[in-house]
């Protein structure tokens, strides 16, 4: 039997005898003949070897060996071997949600450490134990702001990932919220436009730092302005950049979210990833998802439990703060292991390395005829360039030369068809950057 079924024929017979029935069929008597499948045309089973061969064949159809300068919210960072070695331990990945805390202290403590790491990284007071991904985390943050303020209007910068903005619109389609988008000037959030949109109905302003164009900003002024009208500020951040950049906590932002893929998770063609969300302690009861808290046991020993469960769907059902049940505990585990390995000093260096390499790339690329590196705003490891030709055509030609050159902005910003964003992580070497520039020069001017 190839279904990982343990029972032998004899054991089946013994169990049937206990049940006083003659065959397993008798157990399915509630399923009447009229419920029977009209078809069940699934292929015959295969051996492990055959399935692995099939999948290796499919994997070979995907392009490998391409050098990525592609980011757009998902980054090619190096993941130390210890991350997957530890997260691949069966004790972690084959456990379930820690409902029974006595036999789940491993997962619970790791999640507590994860929450603490997210807090120190973002400068916030409390974090939950993870959400699905950066996009759904931003949605949950907006819902949280609507609940806290009991208002209905959301002001969003065009610098927020266009993918996230599309998700927000889908999720709130039936809820009659008023979404207003403000533009971006010289790469930065347009203050004037945002301030004009802030009124007594506004629940929150949604920002991103660095924004989708790569621009790094200090949003403290927007926070101050919003505060005057009791409007919350939500900021979506790129965690690696926080090795250097002013934190949302230092800007007094109310709710921080982000995509945690860059904290030790493989690209995996889109998932699973990690959504993080952190906020001020006064809003902890409005946070969605699981939260791990410290306590003591009957012997007075420190230990960890799921806490504030009365917010959650399995207790509060339709009155819960969110419908989320499963989060991404294993991804949070990978992230906390990654952050512990890279460490305090290593994380600063990592961020600096990303910045330095991206600045070097900017300098080299700016010298190419037909490439204009957008200046005026500081950037971190991703930046916008204007090309002399359609950016989609350029990226297409660059793939043939072995580079994923960047993300053409025309897909989401129709008036920016000649622009693309280029990401440079710590993995890109000086030589790769020079080769990339050479290839781009050849495509544009060759």
């Amino acid at each position: 039997m190839s279904s990982y079924i343990a029972n032998t024929e004899n054991e089946v017979k013994e169990m049937l005898a206990v049940l006083k029935i003659s065959s397993i069929e008798d157990l399915f008597q509630d399923i009447k003949p009229r419920h029977a499948p009209q078809s069940f045309d699934v292929p015959q089973g295969k051996s492990e070897f055959e399935v692995v061969q099939h999948l290796r064949g499919l994997a070979a159809k995907n392009l490998s060996g391409i050098i990525p300068f592609l980011g757009g919210g998902y980054y090619d960072h190096y993941v130390p071997a210890a991350v997957s070695a530890l997260a691949s331990r069966g004790e972690f990945y084959t456990a379930y949600t820690p409902y029974q805390s006595e036999c789940s202290q491993g997962t619970l403590q790791a999640l507590y450490e994860y929450q603490s790491s997210i807090c120190t990284l973002t400068g916030m007071e409390v974090s939950n134990a993870s959400l699905y991904d950066g996009g759904s985390a931003l949605y949950e943050a907006v819902m949280m702001a609507l609940r806290i303020t009991k208002r209905t209007k959301v002001v969003m910068s065009a610098g927020v990932s266009p993918i996230y903005r599309k998700i927000l619109k889908t999720y709130t389609y039936n809820l009659n919220f008023d979404f207003q988008e403000s533009s971006v000037v010289h790469g930065h959030s347009n203050r004037e436009e945002i301030y004009k949109l802030l009124d007594k109905d506004t629940a929150c302003v949604v920002l991103q730092n660095p924004n989708f164009f790569g621009a790094v900003d200090d949003h403290s002024d927007i926070v101050n302005k919003a505060r005057e009208k009791n409007i919350l500020v939500i900021e979506s951040v790129y965690p690696v950049s926080l090795g250097l950049l002013k934190t949302p906590g230092e800007m007094d932002v109310d709710i921080v979210t982000g995509e945690g893929q860059s904290l030790g998770l493989p690209l995996n063609f889109g998932g699973p990833y990690l959504g993080f969300i952190a906020t001020k302690k006064k809003y902890i009861r409005k946070l969605p998802g699981r939260i791990v808290g410290e306590t003591t046991d009957i012997h007075g020993q420190r230990c960890f439990v799921n806490t504030l469960q009365a917010r959650e769907q399995h207790i509060r059902r339709e009155k819960a703060t969110s419908n989320i049940c499963t989060n991404v505990a294993l991804c949070a585990l990978q992230a906390v292991i990654y952050m512990a390995l890279i460490g305090k000093q290593g994380f600063k260096e990592l961020a600096q390395l990303n910045l330095d390499k991206a600045e070097f790339a900017k300098k080299v690329l700016d010298e190419i005829k037909g490439v204009e590196v957008k200046k005026g705003t500081p950037t971190f490891n991703e930046f916008t360039v204007a090309l002399s030709r359609d950016a989609s055509e350029v990226t297409e030609a660059m793939i043939e030369k072995g580079f994923a050159a960047g993300f053409p902005l025309g897909r989401y910003y129709p008036d920016m068809a000649r622009h693309m964003i280029i990401a440079v992580t710590e993995k890109r070497t000086r030589q790769e950057i020079l080769d990339f520039a050479g290839a781009l020069d050849a495509v544009l001017n060759g």
Partner: protein, 482 residues
């Protein structure tokens, strides 16, 4: 155990960054830089490895313990599905690559996996099309109910309510409320299924749909399921199938054949992908023809030349429900699992899951009240009501089992059964393992009569005993640095 932060020593480094081959160091304007330190731990790689290895050993897991957590389907997660997920051709693939012009041709293998899974899940459930995007079961529910709303909006239907049986998972009412519907809870009848009489009373033209788990969380398959569908369709309501328990009826009943319009599947339940200590999951959603135009974008399609592409051109689509294409590496694991088991293997899953649950129910019936005394499906719901009269509650029995090296069943769910103990052995456990569990449950019952007070200090074999949850909620210490 000490926290990783408590092991930190100033100046210690566990990781070397790639070399800085760029001579110039860039300085950003100081106003853009963080002033407060990011206090990540300063530890060696060995300390990290030892710390998290030791932490892992504080967990019960499927690989180490019997884990009959009802409703969660803790079946064996085949090791080879882990290894295929790590093939670099998949794991290193950038998700935005197919969004570059002509970029799809560089991700054909990954798109083929998604397309093939769509076809397999359609055949397994009897639906017409799937989206692989939902990132967990509850996210699938959200997607499904949003499509339900889109369907009614398109038809100009004025709908206000979603009906949910009282035995439903909490995610069902929470999801329906998230989309803006009001919930009407329908009680269960004496057989453990939704009360038909009350259902008929509550059904009206304002009902958008009914969300059902089949078999339900009492472990009961409703033999009148097709009649329920007829009644709901008569008011132009939609039937939503919560696929949490699909593993009980593989190849025996497809939701699409008995009147369901929308289905979500928890890949981490029926198709053996790991639960990860609480995720990541994956919750693909399938729909009938009448709803396919509302499916989220993108959709993976096979073209005439046998290549695969992403199609975003569906004007009636509810839009983006996830950033990308779903939890790809989880979908990949489930794909490998389905290919390996094949038709007969999937049939055997349900046969043995149901046999095992009935065996446990029958053996424990002399000792524990059975919530619904009839044949069960893949899980059985017992009640510790008799033991509770001695002062020994479901939670106490759970702690007793931990000392026996068994992860407790689900307790206090479903909410409809007092002192409920919900047991789901799954098909991958042997009779021998179940006999040890049964023996432990019988001992717990005996001890409840002899020495009920003893339970209050259990478990004793674990590093901690009975954490103070009230204190945790009162003091709310959720961050080491606070």
């Amino acid at each position: 155990m000490e926290l990783i932060f408590e092991k930190s020593v100033e100046g210690r480094q566990g990781y070397r960054n790639p070399c800085g081959d760029i001579p110039t160091r860039t300085q950003l304007p100081s106003g853009l830089l963080r002033k407060n330190e990011c206090d990540l731990p300063e530890v060696s790689e060995l300390e990290v490895v030892r710390h998290y290895t030791n932490l892992s050993q504080l967990n019960f897991s499927l690989d180490t313990h019997f884990y009959p957590l009802g409703s969660c389907t803790m079946k064996y997660n085949p090791k080879f599905t882990e290894s295929v997920a790590q093939i670099p051709g998949f794991s290193e693939l950038h998700p935005l690559l197919p969004q570059l012009r002509n970029g799809e041709k560089f991700t054909q293998g990954a798109l083929e996996v998604l397309y093939n899974m769509d076809c397999l899940l359609c055949e397994i459930t009897g639906m017409d099309a799937f989206t692989m995007q939902p990132l967990a079961g509850a996210h699938g529910e959200l997607t499904g109910v949003m499509m339900m709303a889109a369907y009614h909006n398109a038809k100009g239907n004025k709908k206000k309510y979603i009906l949910v049986p009282d035995s439903a998972h909490g995610t069902n009412p929470a999801t329906a409320a998230t989309v803006g519907y009001e919930i009407i809870s329908i009680p269960s009848d004496a057989h453990g299924v939704m009360d038909m009489g009350i259902l008929k009373q509550k059904l009206s033209h304002e009902v958008a749909g009914v969300m059902l788990t089949s078999p339900n969380t009492h472990g009961v398959f409703n033999p009148q399921i097709d009649q329920v569908a007829e009644l709901v369709h008569a008011v132009d309501g939609l039937m939503y199938y919560d696929g949490a328990n699909l593993n009980a009826v593989l190849a025996r009943c497809r939701p699409g054949d008995v009147g369901f319009d929308i289905v979500h599947i928890n890949l981490h339940k029926t198709f053996g992908t790991p639960h990860g200590g609480g995720g990541p999951g994956s919750g693909p959603v399938g729909v009938k023809e009448s709803l396919t135009r509302f499916l989220p974008i993108s959709r993976v399609e096979k073209k005439a030349d046998d290549t695969y592409s992403l199609n975003y051109d569906y004007p009636d689509s509810i839009g983006y429900i996830a950033s990308l294409y779903g939890n790809f590496s989880i979908i990949l694991r489930a794909y490998a699992y389905i290919l390996m088991l094949g038709k007969e293997g999937l049939m055997a899953v349900s046969d043995h899951a149901v046999l095992n649950a009935n065996y446990i129910q029958k053996r424990l019936k002399p000792y524990y009240k059975v919530a619904y005394d009839r044949i069960c499906m893949h899980e059985c719901v017992l009640s510790a009501e008799n033991q509770a009269s001695q002062g020994v509650h479901a939670v106490d029995i759970a702690k007793f089992l931990i000392d026996k090296g068994i992860h407790p069943p689900t307790v206090y769910f479903p909410l409809t059964v007092k002192e409920s103990i919900m047991i789901e052995p799954t098909e991958t456990e042997s009779k021998r393992t179940m006999d040890l569990f049964i023996q432990a449950m019988i001992e717990a019952d005996a001890l409840s009569k002899k020495d009920p007070d003893r339970f209050k200090v259990l478990p004793q074999t674990t590093p901690v005993t009975r954490p103070d949850e009230v204190r945790a909620a009162r003091e709310l210490k959720t961050n080491y640095f606070q």
